[in-house]
């Protein structure tokens, strides 16, 4: 966070002393909301969780994937994550290591258990589907404030809750989106709904977050997320289980060697 703080100290000061809406322009207001949401997610250290991914096609046929993820907070940069595939069984033991960066491309390595080979992969396919799902890599990778520019739109009520509505615009030109509209609750700065607009600026997908649970008395995590693709009629539901915070994960649990042990 430090590099970012030096740029936004005046802004942050206003955030901490009053509500973010006192910022001047819609862009500053949007940024202030994102910074506040990010700061509430900071300091988790590490966490791991199990994920069930249910893919549904237009005809309603379902297929499921089962994954485990480990995440490590990195100071001054994006988080590190290790994703291990348990199902489908033919990819069991396959693992993906990602070093997210606040700016520039992420670093990614894929472990292929049949060859016992760790392969560096060019991570320019952020807009590509993750495991054939409706989630793109950029949707599920660590969300950093610097990855977007922002614009506050309005206050609204969503399911009886007061929310901010703001837009964010991906900085990376390889993003599959022109913009995303985010509904975020005012009480805890949790994302409630996101509309994704494709490169032609037409509505592509909507993501809704359900059943938020608080961990460690601080961190809110949605237990279910549903992504609906309006253009194809397909959808993907993520169900998160077994969240564990501060389990003592270290850098060593996120190096190239750790991929080979990812059973």
């Amino acid at each position: 966070m430090k590099t970012f703080l030096t740029f936004t100290l005046p802004l942050l000061a206003s955030v901490s002393m009053s509500t973010p809406l006192l910022a001047e322009t819609p862009e500053e207001q949007g940024m202030a909301i994102a910074v506040e949401a990010d700061s509430r997610d900071n300091g988790f250290g590490d966490f791991s969780a199990d994920m069930l991914m249910i893919l549904k096609n237009k005809q309603g046929e379902e297929s499921t994937r089962q994954l485990r993820s480990k995440n490590l907070e990195v100071e001054n940069d994006g988080d590190k994550s290790l994703t291990i595939f348990d199902k489908p069984r033919d990819v069991q033991g396959t693992a993906l290591l990602t070093f997210t960066h606040k700016t520039g491309s992420d670093d990614q390595w894929l472990y292929l258990p049949a060859l016992k080979r760790v392969k560096r992969i060019a991570s320019n396919n952020k807009s590509g589907p993750f495991m054939g799902s409706e989630f793109a890599y950029e949707d599920i990778s660590s969300q950093e404030v610097e990855k977007y520019t922002y614009k506050y739109l309005r206050d609204e009520q969503l399911d009886g809750e007061d929310v901010f509505v703001f837009e964010r615009y991906p900085v990376d030109k390889k993003s599959g989106y022109t913009r995303q509209v985010v509904w975020m609750d005012k009480s805890e700065y949790r994302e409630r709904k996101i509309d994704y607009y494709d490169r032609k600026n037409s509505l592509l997908k909507t993501l809704t977050f359900n059943d938020y649970q608080q961990y460690e008395g601080k961190f809110w995590k949605a237990s279910a997320m549903n992504m609906v693709n309006h253009q194809t009629g397909k959808s993907t539901r993520l169900v998160w289980n077994n969240y564990r915070f501060n389990t003592g994960l270290k850098d060593r649990d996120f190096d190239r060697n750790s991929l080979k042990r990812a059973h």
Partner: protein, 407 residues
């Protein structure tokens, strides 16, 4: 009585340890069983060979970890039963090892597999494990290697140290199998060794690996029995085809691997220097060989990925080398559909820069349902002339269909 007790006690302790171990999600059995059909387009060179081969294989894996994953036990046997080819019917232990992970070091003791390398055409640097050549001629199937592997982890990179007791001889097709080396059959039962210790020679290896910004670099050294045999022609005492006797030299094998990632570009280099390799059992010479090139990945709007691959392979021994990679360019593509069935296609042509000889390779795979996977593989050569390394495989263009059930 007394000598037997410690062994029993150790076995009991290990058993108890395994049973009491924490049950991580990954603990237990997994693996696959598969049916495979290998079909050859052309009539074989030798009368005893066949046009198609059916086989079945099984590769179960037992895995258990404890103490937060810092201790592990792995057992992975492999077996194939093949029609006609007595040598392709074989069993192996791919993995049977105990692993330890600490902050600054890791240890693997037992039978295991280790991959080194960056490139796609061939795996020059990769030398720890022997090729299980009857499984596939691409050199990506390996036999389990007994080892003691200590990894030292520091800010200056990872240093891997290996002690490799017990040499595995390369597997080759039997009399009725395909492909063979032309008419010649490999006499696998009577390999010859340069070392008096033969297959009991203890090999040593080390590899240093480091990431430097967008680059990954590795330097390795191996000293011991060459995984690749030289061949000596043995005229048969009895009537029949002449036989090739594998000769395993004592070599020094130095490897360099470099890989750089720049956006959609991956640049790859592998180079080796081999000292002491005896091609026909007598002539000793040192040589360099390398493989370098790039992979560029385009992404279409729907997430479909198209990879473009190009690599140049060079071997100092030129046409004397018992390899197809002496002066050859690989042009290939990798298509990743990113669909629900994880469909992938890898296709490539290897072009001999000094002659008209070409070889091609197409690999495609797709999941069916949740637990099945269908793989297709087509390999072959064209435009080969007498004198080309690939000429001996001129009749062996093949199609392989593999259907695997995972559990």
């Amino acid at each position: 009585m007394h000598t037997g007790l410690p062994v029993i006690r150790t076995a009991l302790a290990l058993g108890t340890l395994l049973l009491c171990a924490g049950n991580s999600l990954a603990d237990g059995w997994s693996g696959d069983v598969a049916t495979q059909w290998n079909a050859f387009v052309k009539e074989p060179l030798a009368d005893e060979q066949h046009r198609s081969y059916l086989s079945v294989s099984a590769q179960p894996e037992y895995y258990r970890e404890w103490e937060d994953g810092s201790r592990s036990f792995q057992f992975e046997p492999f077996a194939r039963v093949s029609q006609y080819d007595s040598k392709r019917t074989h069993v192996d232990i791919r993995e049977l090892n105990f692993g330890m992970v600490e902050d600054n070091w890791e240890l693997t003791a037992g039978i295991s597999k280790v991959f080194w390398g960056m490139t796609e055409s061939q795996h020059l640097v990769d030398i720890i494990n022997q090729d299980d050549l009857v499984e596939n001629t691409d050199g990506e199937d390996k036999l389990g290697q007994p080892m003691l592997n200590l990894t030292l982890v520091s800010d200056y990179g990872n240093l891997d140290l290996f002690v490799l007791p017990g040499f595995r001889t390369r597997t080759f097709a039997g009399p009725e199998g395909r492909p063979r080396f032309g008419f010649q059959l490999v006499d696998q039962n009577n390999p010859e060794y340069e070392s008096g210790a033969e297959e009991k020679h203890i090999d040593l290896a080390a590899r240093w690996f480091q990431m430097i910004g967008d680059w990954e670099v590795a330097v390795s050294q191996f000293r011991g029995t060459s995984r690749e045999p030289g061949f000596m022609l043995k005229s048969p005492g009895a009537p029949g085809s002449p036989q090739l006797v594998p000769f395993y030299s004592q070599i020094n094998h130095t490897g360099l691997e470099i890989q750089g990632v720049f956006g959609a570009w991956l640049w790859k280099f592998e180079g080796i220097r081999v000292n002491g390799f005896k091609e026909r059992g007598v002539k000793s010479r040192s040589y360099f060989a390398s493989d370098f090139g790039f992979e560029y990945t385009f992404v279409l709007e729907n997430g479909f990925e198209i990879g473009a691959l190009m690599e140049y392979n060079w071997d100092q021994r030129g046409r004397d080398a018992f390899t197809q990679f002496q002066n050859d360019v690989l042009v290939g593509t990798r298509l990743t559909f990113n669909d629900v069935q994880s469909t992938q296609i890898l296709a490539g042509v290897m072009i001999d820069a000094g002659s008209a000889g070409r070889s091609y390779n197409v690999e495609a795979e797709r999941r069916i349902g949740d637990n099945w996977k269908l793989s297709l593989e087509a390999r072959g050569v064209f435009h080969v002339k007498p004198g080309d390394f690939l000429y001996q495989f001129r009749r062996d263009n093949s199609l392989r269909i593999n259907l695997a059930r995972y559990f």
